[in-house]
Symmetry: C2
């Protein structure tokens, strides 16, 4: 039997009052406004008083109260990161990029998973604004499809930045990878290895990336005068399980494809699993390619040839862009597209070459 734990001070009396801006001001012999100027790096303060104030801040261990600052300035200094339905590895990397950028700029980050298509969830997002919890938003796909919400935010002049959105006109900025080119390059890689019958697994159609990757695939086929065969296209949803289902369909065809290009690494991992189960050697009997270059791409066997999408950098750019807007700085261009990179690993090889196995 352990002792009961409780914090009787909580909810009854208040904690001993901590050091405030008044204490610092009194200690130095200046007004609180001067202390405020120093802690906010207002350049107008003289070096002499700045030094004295800083010394007092250190000596007294003064830390500004963020709630007071937020209330008085009517700003939260917090960025809301809104996401739904995306792969966790993707979200994780976005989160890291946004959070690190926010920290550097003195902002906080609030993660807000939700189904942005549902009107209750849209209300919830507007509520974050009304509560003054958040100054602006970053939307990851497919949250950028919540058109009514985005219009409402624009009307209220709440800045936001979208990642790889579907709608790319209009004033609000976005950051994207060059999905079309990435898919084009991967397809060309497969074609150069001699593949002509290439299966393609599409991603969730709510994401613009799904369409751009398919378009890049088609364009590369066309550039190499390979006829497009709709029977080789399967509709997935970016999840591993859909990769399994689509791979079963593709590998059941006669003749079957010599390569499968999945629109992300999770689905490509599903293709690998099915191929292994069917006793198909990779890449000797089948080449498999993914997209994104998330950690999973290296954790399956054989390691996936994929297109590296700079998710972290995209997130950093989006956060920087948003914070510039929040600071009232203007932004020249609202369209940032980052390049992708072909990463060749062990899951792709020349057509019908038994040597290429492991």
């Amino acid at each position: 039997m352990l002792t009961a734990l409780s914090y009787p001070h909580i909810g009854r009396t208040l904690d001993p009052v901590s050091v405030t801006i008044f204490d610092v001001a009194r200690h130095v012999g200046v007004s609180i406004k001067t202390v405020s100027r120093v802690i906010n790096n207002d350049p107008v303060v003289s070096e002499d008083t700045r030094a004295k104030v800083m010394a007092a801040v250190r000596e007294l261990g003064y830390v500004p109260n963020v709630s007071a600052r937020r209330l008085a300035s009517r700003r939260s200094y917090v960025v809301g990161l809104v996401f739904h339905n995306a792969t966790w590895a993707y979200i994780t990397e976005v989160q890291q990029g946004v959070l690190e950028t926010c920290r550097k700029e003195g902002y906080g980050m609030l993660i807000h998973p939700c189904n942005a298509k549902k009107s209750e969830d849209q209300q919830e997002i507007l509520r974050l604004v009304a509560q003054q919890q958040v100054d602006g938003f970053i939307f990851t796909p497919p949250c950028d499809n919540a058109v009514a919400l985005l219009e409402e935010l624009e009307a209220r002049r709440i800045p936001f930045v979208r990642l790889t959105p579907c709608v790319r006109q209009g004033p609000s900025p976005f950051v994207a990878a060059d999905d079309w080119r990435g898919a084009y390059e991967m397809t060309e890689h497969l074609i150069n290895l001699g593949h002509r019958r290439i299966g393609f697994i599409m991603g969730n159609p709510d994401h613009q990336a799904s369409h751009d990757r398919l378009a890049g695939f088609k364009a590369a086929l066309e550039a190499h005068r390979i006829p497009f065969n709709p029977a080789l296209i399967q509709q997935g949803d970016f999840q591993f399980e859909s990769g399994v289902t689509c791979a079963r369909a593709l590998l059941g065809m006669e003749p079957r494809p010599t390569a499968i290009f999945a629109s992300n690494d999770d689905m490509a991992a599903g293709v690998l699993a099915v191929a292994h189960q069917m006793g198909i050697s990779i890449p000797a009997d089948l080449s498999v390619a993914g997209f994104d270059d998330v950690p999973l791409a290296r954790q399956v066997w054989p390691a996936l040839t994929t297109i590296r999408q700079p998710i972290y950098e995209i997130a950093v750019s989006a956060a920087q862009l948003l914070i510039r807007l929040l600071k009232g700085e203007s932004v020249e261009t609202s369209f940032y597209e980052l390049p992708t990179t072909l990463i060749v690993r062990e899951s792709t090889g020349p057509v019908g070459d038994p040597e290429s196995l492991g």
Copy 2:
């Protein structure tokens, strides 16, 4: 050339004043205190006035300003989630559990990745308290090792809950999985399949789970009178790459183990990759077992036999526990241990049975 985007209202003049508690009070003809009571669900208000206030809240679209509330109440209603160095899949699940619980209870969650061993990062955590950003903390391993920090928090009476900590005495509560039993059961599963030469890959020694899993493994061997062979133990760090390194060492032995039990799924995936590379069939020639049951366990081939650790439920329990403490409620026991479950998939099978392949 796109038009420049800026929000000139930001940083210059203030937004039009939104609806406040005064507006609601005036509209109903009561004091602001009464409105405050209603929105905080104080049961003392009469049903009649409560209804009138609620109607006005809806009609005017009133949303309380959280900064004002936090400032006046000297509380943030925010839980800090501190983590470092753990597997992303683990953190992701913890995050979901904590966030969903916080939302239900009207709390926010602040994620705070840091190296809790470094003293600057410990200062940063104390700063969150001083800034009134956070009312309490949840520490995931190995952050629970920041002993000096935890003592400081206890001295300041800041509640915190640890997940699977190393130090388990003392008053501050924690939640853990029964790692010892999980490892015991997995080892027994392998022994029942006829395995006697079982390699074991240990996790990061900063995590208590690493030691408990090893102890469970040893105990099961002993219970079945299988002599413990230290040469079969490899030191990993929970990352995929360490699984690869340790598997190379184990599979280079003569005679080599017939089974490898890795202390988590990421390292088990590394074992699979090495085995595939060496042309070792799984589970015909080698059984491979993991721990945790993260998504990766189903995304590799063959799907991993593993021990399901209820990470989500652990996170939910920890958050509930912390919020109870934050509300000033007492907690009878400070020790919560959740059971694990053996999940048998395709990566384990009887010793030397070629039929069990795929």
